[in-house]
């Protein structure tokens, strides 16, 4: 089976220049891979570095050392050293990301927020909107909200917009940062079903789920992040 993500020996620390340059090690020696059609889950307590790993895989955090090899179009690229332009192309075509919180744009309707990633990939705007409608309906977002900008929505409503936006495309790799944190049971089940559908189409998923039931339902494998604690490995 294809392995579109291979992470080897990745390290990350933060240097706080405003605090006399103290260095906060986050993770070191991070090595794992993800296969197509599986959902791997990053496990470990808060502060272990789960989100940092996810953010490095999305190019949102810089990488101090190591490689993140991703299958992109017909080749392999190393996200740890890729140019900003390459990272943007990877995000458009290869890696999708559902963040914990929705970053809202003034005046853009929920429907268009959801449709946007498809439009960026060259889809017709009406086709993209139709797919967005279907997803928002599946996630039980009341139809009267669809044409409103999500800035004033509740936490759970915003998160559903965010999930729909992340799941609308057919990225072969999908990163999920606590997508179910503020959802009720019914909508959690919808997300579990969406993840199962992605797996069935061969998407490689990597997620963080604090909710035990969701993790049980979706995880094929748990990657224990405490094994990568920066203190454990001599720098």
């Amino acid at each position: 089976m294809a392995t579109p993500v291979v992470v080897s020996d990745v390290a990350k620390s933060f240097t706080m220049h405003l605090r006399d340059g103290i260095k906060l090690p986050v993770v070191a020696g991070v090595s794992f891979s993800i296969r197509s059609g599986e959902c791997a889950v990053l496990g470990g307590p808060s502060g272990a570095g789960k989100s940092s790993i996810l953010k490095m895989l999305y190019g949102n955090y810089a990488v101090d050392a190591g490689q993140i090899i991703v299958q992109h179009e017909d080749g392999l690229i190393d996200l740890a050293t890729a140019s900003p332009r390459t990272v943007l192309a990877v995000r458009r075509l290869t890696i999708g990301y559902v963040s914990q919180f929705l970053r809202t744009v003034p005046r853009v309707s929920a429907l268009d927020v959801v449709a946007e990633p498809l439009v960026e990939r060259g889809a017709d705007r009406e086709v993209a909107r139709n797919k967005a409608r279907a997803l928002l309906a599946q996630l039980n977002l009341p139809e009267k909200l669809w044409m409103l900008p999500p800035a004033t929505f509740s936490g759970g409503e915003q998160q559903r917009v965010n999930i729909a936006r992340g799941f609308i495309t057919e990225h072969p790799i999908l990163l999920l940062d606590e997508p179910t944190a503020s959802l009720d049971a019914r909508n959690r089940d919808v997300v579990i079903a969406l993840i199962a559908a992605k797996k069935a189409t061969g998407v490689a998923l990597l997620g963080i789920f604090h909710d035990h039931d969701v993790r049980e339902a979706v995880a094929d494998r748990v990657i224990d992040v405490t094994a990568f604690a920066a203190g454990k490995i001599a720098a």
């Binding site: 190019g59 943007l88 744009v105």
Partner: protein, 258 residues
């Protein structure tokens, strides 16, 4: 997406006597890309913008631009007339103060139409129709077409300036603090409009701003300047979420949370 940049800048420096305006700036800009240049007043970002747009000539360094025929031309080796032609047709420049980019004593329609006439349009009916179309795209009512921008609010003037710049279908737009001096609600509307136009038209843009939220919303890539030098550059969200340079960390930590 083409693999060749639209604009190639290498080792650009501008000195005012012994004072540094900007020093050793190198980057490439591709079609459809928005690059934000951030930094405090005096960091050299406006000097850089003025050099790029050839409103100022640099002390050293080079910049080349891919013309519509695919050939790269050295900006600082062009004749004044060629540069002016580029400015009128293929480029736009949105000033912070709309009064600097508009003619305040002619009508809104003429402000837009003038750029079209500069590129050779002569048919009055067509020019007016295009002007009406562009006014509506920047959300100015058609019945204001014969009013002078003096009678417009700050936000409307800025939208008119944008229409005036985009009417000729430029490929590259320079913006100097496009939302500076506007009320927050007016800013939001303008940012949304700019975002939409840039995406729909596939424009490349260099946006100078001191507002990191504006940079986050408009740009994919960002350069942070201090004392005339680029201290950090990269993907906008990477620079803002994981700032590496001491000065960027200071800027990011200084944002007021609301």
């Amino acid at each position: 997406m083409t693999d060749e940049p639209l604009l190639r800048v290498s080792a650009l420096s501008k000195f005012y006597g012994s004072r540094v305006g900007c020093e050793n700036v190198t980057f490439g800009l591709w079609p459809g890309e928005v690059l934000a240049v951030v930094g405090e007043s005096g960091s050299g970002k406006t000097t850089l913008l003025n050099c790029l747009s050839t409103r100022l000539l640099p002390s050293s360094g080079a910049a080349s631009y891919r013309m519509r025929d695919g050939q790269f031309r050295e900006l600082y080796r062009m004749s004044e007339a060629e540069r002016r032609f580029l400015m009128r047709t293929d480029w736009g420049f949105v000033h912070q103060n709309p009064a600097d980019g508009l003619r305040m004593t002619v009508s809104a329609g003429a402000n837009v139409g003038e750029r079209l006439m500069a590129v050779g349009d002569r048919h009055y009916g067509k020019i007016r129709a295009t002007a009406v179309d562009w006014l509506s795209r920047v959300e100015i009512d058609e019945d204001r077409i014969d009013d002078e921008p003096r009678a417009f609010s700050g936000g409307m003037r800025q939208r008119l300036q944008i229409a005036r710049n985009l009417v000729t279908g430029p490929r590259l737009v320079f913006m100097d603090e496009p939302t500076g001096g506007l009320d927050v609600s007016v800013q939001a509307r303008l940012l949304d409009l700019l975002r939409g136009l840039v995406t729909d038209l596939g424009l490349a843009a260099v946006v100078v701003t001191h507002d990191l939220a504006v940079a986050r919303l408009l740009s994919q890539r960002m350069m942070v300047m201090k004392d005339g030098r680029v201290v950090e550059s990269g993907l906008t969200d990477r620079v803002l979420d994981d700032p590496r340079a001491p000065y960027t960390q200071l800027l990011v930590s200084s944002i007021l949370q609301v």
